[in-house]
């Protein structure tokens, strides 16, 4: 299980209700396939640095989830199917991101796969839950 973040640019002309519907649909897709949603963040309407499909503005959504590698693939086919999605980016958290996250101590849960990379940091900050997980192993 790895942590992914999927950022989607939607058409800014959608109503707030439509945007909620899109978020709900994506969450259902993730949860149906055994994924766990960690965070849903709406960045809001932002000006694009360049025109995409002749549009100046886009509505940014970011979904952070934990799950298997097939979920990004399913999400991608959903994005391609939908006309409201201007652009998307799904990426897996690398060791630097995970380490930065643990440093911030916002996320107490550390995935088991990331523990070896984060050992040095964990040793410095023994108050996180990651340490207890490690000792159990």
């Amino acid at each position: 299980m790895a942590i992914y973040e999927s950022i989607v640019i939607l058409d800014s002309l959608l109503t707030p209700k439509d945007i909620d519907n899109v978020v709900d649909r994506l969450s259902v897709i993730i949860q149906e396939r055994g994924g766990v949603i960690r965070k849903i963040d709406k960045w809001g309407k932002k000006r694009l640095a360049y025109e995409i499909e002749k549009k100046q503005y886009g509505f940014y959504i970011s979904i952070e989830f934990e799950g298997d590698g097939n979920i990004p693939h399913v999400l991608e086919s959903d994005y391609n199917y939908s006309d409201n999605v201007l652009r998307y980016l799904t990426y897996r958290f690398d060791k630097y991101k995970i380490r930065a996250m643990q440093n911030a101590a916002e996320q107490a849960k550390a995935p088991a796969a990331a523990v070896p990379a984060a050992e040095a940091v964990v040793a410095l900050k023994p108050e996180t839950n990651a340490v207890t997980q490690e000792s159990q192993e």
């Binding site: 640019i9 694009l48 640095a49 995409i52 940014y60 652009r87 980016l89 630097y96």
Partner: protein, 75 residues
């Protein structure tokens, strides 16, 4: 007379930054030209490890239209 140039140090190493976030466009813009090109590490002094992360971050930000690919001033 030999000019002794002060050696540039990587800004990320100095501030102990391990992870370069591609959402932070104001920070990334400091490592780009006005046109939107990525500055080489010999002008900014960034170390190889951070330059690699930086260029990947800029490319991700460009894909999401957070940063421009090019800004043309000629017109």
């Amino acid at each position: 007379m030999i000019k002794i140039r002060k050696k540039r140090v990587c800004q990320f190493c100095e501030q102990n930054i391990d992870f370069i976030d591609f959402k932070d466009d104001r920070m990334l813009r400091r490592f780009m030209t006005e046109q939107g090109k990525i500055l080489p590490k010999h002008t900014t002094g960034t170390c190889a490890k951070h330059q690699r992360q930086l260029s990947n971050a800029i490319k991700k930000a460009r894909h999401l239209a957070i940063l421009p690919f090019v800004t043309d001033f000629s017109r």
